[in-house]
Amino acid sequence: MSIQINNVSKKFGSFQALEDVSLHIQSGELVALLGPSGSGKTSLLRVIAGLETSDVGEILFDGQSMIDRHPKERNVGFVFQHYALFRHMTVFDNVAYGLKVRPRKTRPSKLEIKNKVMELLRLVKLENFSDRYPTQLSGGQRQRVALARALAVEPKVLLLDEPFGALDAKVRKELRRWLRKLHDDFHITSIFVTHDQEEALDVADRIVVMNNGKIEQIGSPDDVYTNPKSPFVYDFLGNVNLFKGRLHNGKLLHGEFAIDVPDLQVHTEDQAVGYVRPHDIQIERTNVSGTVPVKVSHIHLLGPIVQVELRREDMDEFLEAELTKEQFTNLQLKVGDHVFIKPKQLKVFIPEDFSI
């Protein structure tokens, strides 16, 4: 089912949770709503589910307006961050709930319900836990029950509100890969909310980056990561080094730096900020043209990658570079070494206000 969101706004008191949000989601897509807390991503999800009503705007499922529809009429599966399982029911009864509450006419027979629930429990690998109560399960197992429960009603849309937020790192990774696989098998239109950029990049077909109730950028994970449209997106998706300088004759001037910025030739003498990812900082032993001298102040070995903190020698600023273990071994860096750096890739934004 395709989802069309047109000019949706929502206010909680004086807080603008959503401001003129428009988004089109294709049938069978897996979309991540990514943003910091308070960015409106959960509000948007709840408006889609009908758990919250929007002040202005429309929500269309396959072209049909959903605005006046009660959540139970929207045929939406909702998975909550804290599972929201019925704790007085067994795992089996939790999953069967959506089928058992159907009106008598459309309710499947007891045997059909049983077969369906057991099939879903096999899918989430919990078939041996059907008699347990939620309190007897681990966090990852509970969230799998919540997923099975949401899938039992055969929803046209699956909405997940920070589904893995309360789980530990390893389980989180396992579950999100499993969700991706599930999505590939079932092709159910899914939207999940997350503040974890790694999770969004890993799982989603498309990422919707949100900030202050507005959509900052929509695109494929690769697109959003490599071509951020705004400083916010650059900042939010991964670490970044800032070069706050001036634009002059197509070059960004910052300390001893003079970096070519071909796509901003027209601007001169403007305040500008260059954004460079840590892995786009090249470290040289010798003074090649276009480099500046730095001193290695800290080295963090994080398994396969090495983070190096560098102190600029031309001005009092710190930079962060990321190397592969191999590059690091070749360079033989040590704390206190004097080396030279230059950015391999840089994106310049002209700030609208200079407070950034």
């Binding site: 139970k72 909550f80 804290h82 399982l85 709930y97 959506g98 509450v101 429960r149 949401a150 039992a152």
Partner: protein, 277 residues
């Protein structure tokens, strides 16, 4: 010899177990068990035949019926209205909510005799409310039920309120998104969560109503065989210095109440054991 030492005594992490347990035992013995055992000791002065004679006297048996049936009715009424009040106080916000919340506790603070007099003057055949009914309320079992409902009101409200507050909105939202109606959500999701608290509130209100004396004697009319409650029989016997007779009746009440309350607790324990760890 091995250099490993074996800890013979397992140490408790939370300190003060022995002290607090000792204190609890002393307190319960001194304030609950000892006074209650006096009832049995006093009753011992009777022979078995005398005892049976006193407790099965027609007037006593009639009073058990009145006491237990009115207390049960009052407890059930409080379950219904107490749950509604708790629901309203937790779920909605409206003007003077705090004041209404405070009013709920008032039946606890009021001397029960005052409550009895106030209720009697309202429900007497010529009272403010009584005049609108063409049947008698005060001086009938109906009046007793009203008095007992009044004094038992806070129990259900105060036990259900915190539990209701702790039910997360997410569980209800989950139920709604799975296609349940409001009624189904209440019946299948909210009520099972509330049931243990409602049962506790019921047993407290019921137990309180059984022992209630002050407010009932005014509104009951105290007609033997009809509206005479068991505590009144006990009082009457005490006033006649018939201590053994009074305690014999008290023993019957005590044992019955204990069995009832114990079975309610048992039900609750069986229900809770499944999902509360």
């Amino acid at each position: 010899m091995s250099s490993l030492t074996v800890n013979k005594k397992t140490r408790r992490i939370i300190p003060g177990f022995h002290l607090s347990l000792g204190y609890t035992m002393l307190y319960v013995s001194l304030l609950v068990l000892l006074p209650l055992s006096m009832i049995f000791i006093h009753t011992m002065s009777l022979s078995w035949a005398e005892f049976i004679d006193i407790v099965t006297a027609p007037r006593a048996v009639a009073s058990y019926k009145v006491s237990f049936s009115t207390a049960l009715a009052a407890g059930l009424l409080n379950v219904i209205f107490g749950t509604i009040i708790a629901w309203v106080l937790v779920r909605y916000s409206f003007p003077f909510k705090r004041i209404i919340d405070g009013l709920v506790d008032l039946p606890f603070a009021l001397p029960t005799a005052v409550a009895g007099i106030a209720l009697t003057s309202l429900y007497a055949p010529n009272g403010w409310i009584g005049q609108f009914f063409n049947f008698k309320i005060a001086f009938t079992p109906l009046g007793i039920i009203i008095a007992l409902t009044f004094i038992g009101l806070p129990f259900v409200v105060r036990t259900v309120q915190p539990v209701l507050q702790n039910i997360s909105a997410e569980v209800e939202e989950a139920s709604a998104s799975l296609g349940a109606t409001r009624l189904q959500t209440f019946r299948k999701v909210i009520f099972p969560e509330l049931a243990p608290a409602i049962l506790t509130g019921f047993s407290l209100a019921f137990a309180r109503a059984l022992g209630e004396y002050g407010s009932v004697v005014f509104i009951a009319g105290n007609m033997p065989m009809k509206t005479e409650i068991t505590p009144l029989i006990i009082m009457t016997k005490l006033e006649q210095y018939d201590y053994a007779g009074a305690t014999a009746i008290a023993v019957v009440m005590l044992v019955t109440s204990f069995i009832l309350l114990f079975s309610i607790n048992l039900i609750q324990w069986l229900a809770n054991r499944r999902f509360v760890h």
